[in-house]
């Protein structure tokens, strides 16, 4: 699904990520962990085209037989290929309604022209209806159907996180990148989130690449985990392998 080879990202003198090689296989949930400032978000930003890497290749194959080189493509192009993300610091369309936030996620699939949208030609209204139905379905899925007309920024934190996921799902992604989806959630919410991720993965046949600080979440749902520290990959493997890795323990305890 996604193959990252020798990825290096430098910001001036700061090497946020250096020589990373990683792979996400179709249907997997893969975790990306590491202490603060390890370069995790940077990896997501490079995959989604926000930054152009200093070196390295990223290959995305949404379906068998299809392959795309992501380096150099714009974020919107990458989203259209089937990669969508959530943000560590929530980035909703704050002044717009909850429903519109999700609805906008469908815009990239719209085929009608702007003129048929203004004239509300049948071709457009049919598409719009389908997009609204999908949005409402997703809102119900995240339990926000009663808040559809509220402004996105009026929602409590946990709901905003879920709304961001619904918005990303509206784009029909093949690969979903989640940047600390459980941040700021209480244990109960975190538990629900874990179940939710597994549920949507099955229903929408997703592949998930996940950054998370809550160890119980990553360890529970990931099949494979990559561990970054200071931009360098220090371990990879199954949750149990990673948990018993000395370097990982060291990095997390801050020794050395």
């Amino acid at each position: 699904m996604l193959r990252i080879e020798n990825l290096t990202m430098q910001f001036g003198g700061v090497v946020a990520c250096s020589g990373l090689t990683a792979e996400v296989k179709p249907g997997q949930i893969v975790g990306l962990i590491g202490p603060n400032g390890a370069g995790k978000t940077t990896v997501f930003n490079v995959i989604t085209g926000v930054y152009k890497p200093t070196a390295g290749r990223i290959t995305f194959s949404p379906r068998e037989g299809e392959q795309y080189q992501l380096v150099g493509l714009s974020p919107d192009h990458i989203a259209k290929l089937g990669i969508c993300r959530t943000f560590q610091n929530i980035r909703l369309f704050s002044e717009l309604s909850v429903l519109d936030n999700v609805f906008i996620g469908s815009h990239l699939r719209l085929r009608s022209s702007v003129f048929s949208s203004v004239l509300r030609l049948p071709r457009y209204t049919a598409e719009e209806k389908e997009h609204y139905e999908k949005s409402l379905y997703l809102l119900e899925k995240i339990g926000l159907q009663d808040f559809r007309d509220e402004k996105a920024n009026s929602l409590p934190y946990g709901m905003q996180r879920r709304l961001e996921m619904a918005r990303a799902l509206a784009t029909n992604p093949k690969l979903l990148l989640l940047d600390e989806p459980a941040a700021g959630m209480n244990p109960q919410e975190t538990l629900e989130l874990t179940e939710f991720i597994q549920e949507i993965k099955e229903e929408f046949e997703l592949t998930v690449f996940l950054i998370e600080h809550h160890m119980e979440v990553v360890m529970e749902i990931s099949e494979k985990i990559y561990v970054l520290d200071h931009g360098v990959l220090i371990a990879e493997g199954s949750p149990s392998e990673v948990q018993s890795n000395d370097k990982v323990i060291e990095a997390y305890l801050g020794v050395g």
Binding site: D76, R91, L92, F93, V118
Partner: protein, 340 residues
């Protein structure tokens, strides 16, 4: 869906009332008042056009005077009778390909809009591809350049002499007809998926792009529509006044429209319509500020430009009082790239 039918019904009702009111006004009011009603309609179009780009899409464009000039000259040159052109261009004859053209008002207005939109794309595209922070400067520069160019292209625009005897096609039905079409267009656009994409760009460019919205394409689209309506409004104005010259299209004209948009509220359609009418009427009502006032025993000398001072003060007050003003928007945009 029920709600939507309700608002549609309300809109239809408002339209019927407005048409009746315009009909009565047209019948019973004097020329001066009718002229103000015409101007109001034109400013409604202008206000909505600017709100589309500055309010809904969150860009900052100051080129309206320029696009209006393009529209005004297009309509003037396309609708003026051939003999009238000869009279106007006594200094230097008009370019041959325009000398014998005379078309109807509707095709002339459409041409005004299309040429204006084309120029909008031409100057908007390079700026919007790089940094749209520079759009305000680029459009402001464009408007000034247009004015200078029109002053110097003697055989095309008759230069500083301006054009006189433009046929007065603009009446209440034209000015308000176009205003209603603009209201409908902007409302329908904003209600649909493209309009929501515009607002998404305004709210958060990084997130909008991550959701697959092509920023450049959508910004250019919004800018082209705004330029189109500004051009049409310029054409209506030319045909209303009958006389135009390059100096009519100064930055103060853009400033008036900005005032309408800020007073009416960014991203507010009804607000813009109301504020366009209120500002136009006030502009006329406050005209006495520019003139001398004779109090019988003493004459107070008028200060030309006083009206604009009063309006500027109103604008500043509105921006200060209302937090949702222009400035907070701009500040919000600055930080949007800071971090993810």
């Amino acid at each position: 869906m029920r709600d939507k039918q309700r608002t549609d019904l309300a809109a239809l009702l408002a339209l019927v009332c407005a048409v009746v009111a315009l009909f009565l006004a047209n019948k019973y009011l004097d020329d001066y008042k009718i002229r103000i009603i015409n101007l109001s309609g034109i400013y409604v179009t202008l206000g909505l056009s600017m709100n589309l780009i500055n309010g809904f899409t969150g860009l900052f464009s100051l080129g309206h005077a320029g696009f209006m000039a393009v529209g005004a000259y297009t309509v003037a040159l396309l609708t003026m009778p051939i003999s009238m052109k000869e009279m106007n261009f006594f200094f230097q004859p008009i370019v041959p390909w325009l000398a014998n053209v005379e078309v109807g008002f509707l095709p002339a207005l459409l041409a005004a809009g299309l040429i204006s939109a084309f120029l909008g794309v031409l100057i908007g595209a390079p700026v919007l591809r790089l940094r749209d922070d520079y759009l305000a400067i680029a459009t402001l520069g464009f408007a000034e350049i247009i004015r200078v160019v029109f002053t110097n292209t003697q055989s095309l625009t008759n230069g500083a002499l301006g054009l006189k005897g433009i046929p007065n096609y603009t009446n209440i039905w034209w000015s308000w007809g176009v205003a209603f079409i603009t209201v409908w267009f902007v409302t329908s656009l904003i209600r649909g998926s493209y309009g929501k994409a515009f607002m998404a760009i305004r709210e958060d460019e990084v997130a909008a792009q991550a959701m697959g919205i092509n920023l450049f394409k959508h910004k250019v689209m919004s800018f082209a529509f705004a330029s189109f309506f500004a051009g049409v409004a310029g054409g209506l104005l030319a045909s209303l006044l009958g006389t135009i010259d390059p100096n009519m299209f100064r930055i103060t004209l853009t400033f008036n429209i900005l005032l309408i948009v800020v007073l009416g509220g960014l991203s507010r359609i009804t607000g813009t319509v109301i504020s366009a009418v209120v500002v136009t009427v006030m502009m006329e009502a406050l005209r006495f500020l520019d003139e001398s006032i004779n109090l019988g025993f003493i004459e107070i000398k008028g200060v030309p430009g006083m009206r604009m001072v009063v309006f500027s003060i109103i604008l500043i007050l509105v921006v200060i009082v209302r937090k949702a003003g222009l400035m907070t928007r701009l500040k919000g945009r600055e930080s949007s790239y800071a971090e993810n």
